[in-house]
Symmetry: C2
Subunit: 333 residues, 2 copies
């Protein structure tokens, strides 16, 4: 049922019966290596293009999640997936491989929580017993498409972020063991006029803040309710902006709870500018790292606010600013 302006409460508490996280070479030297199911040392994954490598990451994440639940591809009733590549071909081709009814999504780096929200809606309302939410990103494929091919070695400002090479998948089921999806706050597109694609954190921070504020209002709770409140990929720059904006709105986020997936995935000494980004950032950190922490009982209630910068290289060239969105999902053990 809907609560407040933009939150869905899943009264039947759909269960994340399995999940998977796959990463690339940079992630294999990161801070949460034990939380990945596979880590590839080869950025190409043996393929002849970065786009095909990304598809392989996504196929692996879906396949592992399905196997962990002791199911076959055709046991999965619906798949929801999206990614950053033009026309979301990584997702489309993965959906071809799996061969089940499919909804293609585009929410940029908010896709993990957009998909998890819709999968939870479908399962909560009994329109399926299970549904798979997945997403992926690939550093070199994204750089090539959005900025410059990595082979050019072009320089970046410190506000830039490092697109995660990886994929995450979560299988939502009607019942079983695992973290439960409690509610989702669906984001609105917010645009405060930032137009610098090397500063996505600043562009997305106001969208994250809007969704966070609405989440707490709609649910009539405050930040003390959660053990972890993590945005998707604001990075250090965006995280600081979000903290300040939230504080201005009277929401003081405890520093030990309020974090960002883009600040968790890599080590301090890795050269990732302001932090990680990309669809796979929130997806792998949530479906890998946070779910493992929940399994170990370290944390019980998490709010993930996946943030998406809804620009295109062309909209930037046409001097548009960067519209952004954030979808929040509350997950409890």
């Amino acid at each position: 049922m809907k609560q407040g302006n933009q939150t869905w409460v899943f009264e039947n508490k759909p269960v994340i019966i399995s999940s998977a996280a796959v990463g690339g070479p940079h992630e294999s030297e990161g801070a949460i290596v034990d939380d990945f199911d596979i880590l590839h040392k080869d950025l190409w994954l043996g393929e002849d293009s970065f786009e095909k490598a990304e598809k392989k990451l996504l196929e692996e994440a879906c396949s592992i999640a399905i196997k962990k639940a002791n199911l076959q591809n055709n046991d999965i009733e619906f798949m929801l997936s999206g990614d950053l590549i033009n026309q979301i071909t990584s997702s489309n081709f993965t959906a071809r491989t799996i061969g089940i009814p499919y909804f293609g999504l585009y929410g940029a780096c908010s896709t993990s929580m957009e998909g998890l929200t819709l999968a939870s809606l479908i399962v909560n309302t009994g329109f399926a017993q299970n549904a798979l939410a997945a997403t992926s990103s690939h550093n070199a494929a994204s750089e090539k498409q959005y900025r410059y091919p990595t082979e050019y070695g072009s320089q970046k400002p410190p506000t830039a972020q490092w697109t995660v090479t990886g994929a995450g998948a979560a299988l939502v089921g009607k019942s079983g063991e695992g973290p439960k999806v409690v509610c989702s706050t669906i984001g609105r597109v917010i645009d405060m006029g930032v137009s610098d694609p090397f500063n996505m954190g600043a562009a997305m921070a106001p969208a994250a803040v809007d969704t966070i504020v609405n989440h707490f209002q709609d649910m009539n709770i405050d930040p003390t309710y959660y053990d972890i409140i993590a945005t998707g990929d604001l990075g250090k720059v965006g995280h600081n902006i979000a903290s300040t904006l939230l504080s201005d709105k009277g929401l003081n986020m405890p520093a030990e709870k309020f974090t960002d997936c883009g600040m968790i995935i890599y080590k301090e000494n890795q050269k990732v500018f302001a932090g990680g980004s990309g669809c796979a950032c929130a997806a792998t950190v949530t479906f890998g790292h946070f779910f493992n922490r929940m399994k170990r009982g370290e944390i019980k209630k998490i709010l993930i606010i996946a943030t998406g910068a809804l620009l295109s290289p062309m909209s930037y060239q046409q001097r548009e600013s960067i519209p952004s969105i954030a979808h929040a999902v509350s997950i409890e053990n």
Copy 2:
């Protein structure tokens, strides 16, 4: 509730309380001009890029649908939209204008029925009182992105199709006057190996056939049930292939019922190769033409199977074939 393998039956019968169709210059000389709310003679709509023109078409369609229902933007609870432009910027920027919670979709030319399906699910299950499904396409913006800028004047084979310049929107509500959404059959990605982007009809026909066959199986009905069974944008070539494939599967589609939106929108003497295509093809013909025919009582039960070719220019250059999908929605008066 789910019925059969891939069909959702909306037992609360969400109502399409209003809809809108907007078109461009080619559409203003087409066969269904009375079914458009606005027809623009200027392909640019006064904007300085085709992409901005497309955004304007989509904004207009959404705005008209909302006005027809005597509502304001902020009365609309959720918006679901997608389009063909990289990173679906037409939809993202329109969602910024409207300013309500938003799900970005990518289903290529199947987006109209993907969005209508999810909007109907949301309203049917009481997660909202209303939800707006919308989509757009622009001939010159699509040609530039997928093939060649139209200014090049490059030639095309007769199997090619003409991307519709236009936008369609449908506002789904819990109750009220209007056509009712009865059920949706969600498509799987089907790929029979066609790799020619100038023959999308042939690529998409098997996906349409798969969804149509599953729809009739899941619902345990036959083609006599409907007054109109229309695919989205197979065009003449794809339509003939689909008819043959369906016949091979024992489903003989009566010629007077089985049609294609891409064969309806333009006049016989317009130079559109095998027919119309693009997200706006199924959207404008359904939300404009067919709904008007339903209002006039000429037809009562329609099945729209919106077809999408899930390729990208890059996947084509990388020698991939064209994965396709089709989502079917059954609408009754």
